[in-house]
Amino acid sequence: MLKYIIKRVLIFIPTLFAISLLTFIISINAPGDPAELMLNNSNGGNGQSSQKLATEKSYVAVRHQLGLDLPVFYFTLSDASVPDTLYRVPKMMQRKSLERMCNEYGNWNLISPFYLKGRQFDLALYSIQKDSTNANALTQIKDLISSLLQTYQEAKLTFYFSKIDQTISENPKLLNAENAQLYASLKESFSQIVKNKDTYTKYIPAIHFYGLNNQYHSWISKFVVGDFGISYQDKRPVSSVLWDAMRWTMMISLISIIISYLIAIPLGIQSAVKKGSKSDRAITTSLFMMYSLPNFWIATMMIIFFCGGDYFDWFPAFGLGTTPADAPFFERFADTAYHLILPVICWTYGTFAFLSRQMRGGVLNVIGQDYIRTARAKGLPENKVIWKHAFNNSLLPIITLFANIFPLIISGSFAIEFIFSIPGMGKITIEALGARNYPVVFTVMLFSAFLTLVGTLVADIIYASVDPRISFSKKA
């Protein structure tokens, strides 16, 4: 048995590694940019506008701070046309357009100077003094250049260039000698790109190695030593954020699990033993009715009716209590418990049906067996027959469900937490996903995965200890 356990624990490591890879890759590729989200302000009605440079600077600064300006992984597998330094371009639209340009023309050594000259010219336009003569033209050209930097199609680029040419010819004083030179060389580099198309490079696979300095490595290397990073949303360490939330979720989950098992198991056994009787049918019907009532609806109903609205005032409507932190432990405990009664009820009632049916199934499976008939024939009281002989072996389906408890403890329930304003894991996780708060999301995912693995292992061990027919050691 011990060997089995050790083998299983060792397999955890590659499994977790694979899960971390999968989680990371999917999250990074999801649309939505955490740097943009952090900088976004919807209160734009009045504010000073950030000058173009200031916004770009802020954006680059935030990206750097979040570590998003590093390559994503140790290596990338792509084609020979795309360079390995593309990750350095901060603006997503420009980066994507450059990638398409590489695929279209294949000559990065010509595309790169084109892009850099384009950026230079863009910046130069902003230092031109605006006045009534050139304002229109300047606005037009700035617009065109911005669009140009995000375009890859040859026809469109030619069109933009021709429009810029037209604007310049109509306003000969617009560009000074230096800027005119810059623009001329920009146009030249574009025609070079088109002339020297190298499309075969698109079909050659290429692997670029980035070494250890990439996002995945910087995340996983800190994670394994317990540094879970800093949450993007409120800049606190992820461990504090999660610990705050986990306390409450664990409390609610554990109480809920204990209650549901304590009630469901005897009910299930009762149903099985008295199969077909009135009590069996009554229990089954009421449990299924409870199962079909959605818990978020029941939560709202309970709040409206029992929490001091227009009806009864038996329970508090939200939160976790207002006793100060320095009050005696028992007082705080009682206050918190009082606040948790309704959330726990909402969490638990739905599981009764499921658990008790599984128990019932397990017991029915066993009761029909020969050895039970023998026990009865021997004259043992029904009590002993059920609880001493049948019980252990009928637990198998319950134990399988037990494996799920571990990850459930930290997953929480978003609906219940939202409605009762309990700052638990469900709420934190969903909000982190919405804000692309990668450190929190990854940590929660990996914990969940780890606990699932532990849960399955524990379940397997319990099988072996409960049912003598199950054993993991090799037959002698």
Partner: protein, 478 residues
């Protein structure tokens, strides 16, 4: 925590230095103080100082007064920032990023200590930070002795600080919050949904214990049109679409009458600036049909939707109307628009999007029509961020409005300190927006607030959030 120290101009300088420290985590607010280049002190008066600003700017005065003053003794006990000047931080920010003192100060300042620890969050106001339990509540307590209590003259609303303790409860669910209100667990609630607000007077518990207020909110909602798309590039088409939106009906049925129609970005309460001579677009389906036909949109193939040949291709008039998923009021407006558009032969597709993707798409101009809103305040409007062409890439001009003359007008408004002149410019600007229709302006909402009757001195105001809670006094007769 030692004795309190008097606040001087040096503390203002310190706060600005903190704001301008290149490694401090405030990318969102830094640009707002970029205009302050330097500060000048006066030997004979420690409370007097002058800001040297980069340029003339209408918001310079209000922005200069709009930050919380931080004490160096709490935030910089080692005096790391004392060796730098504001001028330095403004001009050499890039070079200073590698300065060890700058880095050390920023690391400490950004850490959790200055966000959550009692005693480490200190300002110049009448209240002291007590605790913040994430997701639950924030508690602040009245300071026993505050310099503001000794001020005899020139006291405004913000000097009234009567409440000994203020607790801000986090309640996520509207229904839960309303029940808590009825149960008497909350003293003040704002942001009540229109539908719930109108049913509150039916509850005896509410009418007996709470006063209800609906002050104007300084915000407005609009429908944004991507003016760079070929189908929306014709002004006439946008004006036609404006005729399809029955704003009065929206206010009546979706806001339950608790909103005021606006013709532009300036709030109606700014009576000297609001352009009352502009006629809002009437709800007129026939007019819309006529204008679309004039713009070249006809149903040439008899399939029910109007079409036009654009760039050589026959294009049917279809619109993707996006809104942030979960917001039922916006969804209702979208569906109303869909109905009206069908009457003129336009097919509208209502698309809910997740919030961050919704914002992303706007920034990258990957949208056709969306429902948006902006919040403003009583200080003068600066239209640059939303309506200047420079803000098309990187700012908030998602719809692509503007040309050289509108840009010039926006720039002139920014530096015009003479109010009557500026009012005239703002009126002209509103007229330009009204004709160009980059936004179909909807309405400015009213806040919906419930305040417990046992408080006096508890009137609603137009300043966010609609009341000044610190000033509440207990009614001795309650």
């Amino acid at each position: 925590m030692g004795r309190w120290q008097p606040i001087t101009a040096k503390d203002i300088e310190f706060t600005l230095k903190v704001i301008k420290n290149p490694k401090v985590d405030n990318a969102r607010t830094k640009p707002y103080y970029e205009f302050i280049e330097d500060i000048k002190f006066y030997d004979n008066d420690p409370l007097k100082f002058t800001f040297i600003c980069k340029e003339v700017y209408i918001l310079a005065e209000s922005s200069s007064g709009d930050f919380s003053v931080l004490p160096a003794s709490v935030y910089d006990p080692k005096g790391l920032m004392s060796g730098f000047t504001i001028k330095q931080l403004n001009e050499n920010a890039a070079a200073l990023e590698n300065d060890p003192k700058i880095i050390e100060f920023a690391k400490d300042f950004n850490s959790e200590k200055y966000q959550r620890e009692k005693g480490s969050i200190v300002g110049s106001g009448p209240y002291a930070f007590d605790s913040w339990i994430t997701g639950q509540k924030v508690v602040i307590k009245r300071k026993k002795s505050w310099w503001g209590d000794n001020v005899k003259t020139d006291k405004n609303m913000f000097f009234e600080a009567n409440a000994p303790e203020l607790i801000y409860q986090t309640i996520n669910d509207q229904t839960t919050a309303l029940v808590a209100l009825k149960a008497g667990n909350l003293d003040v609630m704002h942001g009540i949904k229109a539908k719930d607000y109108v049913s509150l007077p039916q509850s005896k518990k509410i009418t007996e214990n709470y006063n209800l207020h609906t002050p104007m909110m300084m915000a407005y909602s609009y429908l944004g049109l991507n003016t760079r798309l070929p189908k929306f590039s014709d002004k006439k088409v946008r004006q036609a679409l404006a005729h399809l939106v029955d704003v009065d009906k929206i206010i009546k049925t979706i806001s339950y009458g608790m909103a005021v129609r606006v013709v532009g970005p300036i709030h109606p309460s700014k009576t000297t600036e609001y352009n009352t001579s502009l006629t809002p677009y009437s709800y007129d389906v026939e007019m819309a049909k006529k204008m679309l036909a004039e713009a070249g949109w006809k149903d040439s193939n008899g399939d029910g939707t109007i079409d036009k040949t654009i760039n050589g291709e026959k294009t049917e008039f279809k619109i993707d109307f996006t809104y942030n998923g979960g917001n039922d009021e916006r969804k209702a407006v979208a569906l109303m628009f869909q109905e009206e558009a069908r009457k003129v032969g336009i097919e509208v597709n209502v698309v809910p999007q997740e919030w961050s993707i919704y914002l992303d798409n706007q920034k990258n101009h990957k949208f056709e029509m969306f429902y948006g809103a902006w919040i403003s305040s009583p200080i003068p409007n600066d239209h640059k961020q939303i309506f200047h062409t420079e803000s098309y890439n990187g700012g908030s001009n998602y719809v692509g409005f503007g040309n050289a003359s509108s840009d010039a007008l926006i720039d002139s408004i920014r530096i015009e300190l003479n109010e009557p002149k500026r009012d005239a410019m703002n009126k002209r600007f509103q007229a330009i927006l009204h004709e160009d229709v980059p936004y179909i302006f909807l309405s400015a909402p009213k806040e919906k607030i419930a305040i417990h009757k046992r408080f006096t001195n508890a009137d609603a105001s137009v300043m966010r959030p609609g009341f000044w809670e610190a000033g509440f006094k207990m009614d001795p007769n309650w």
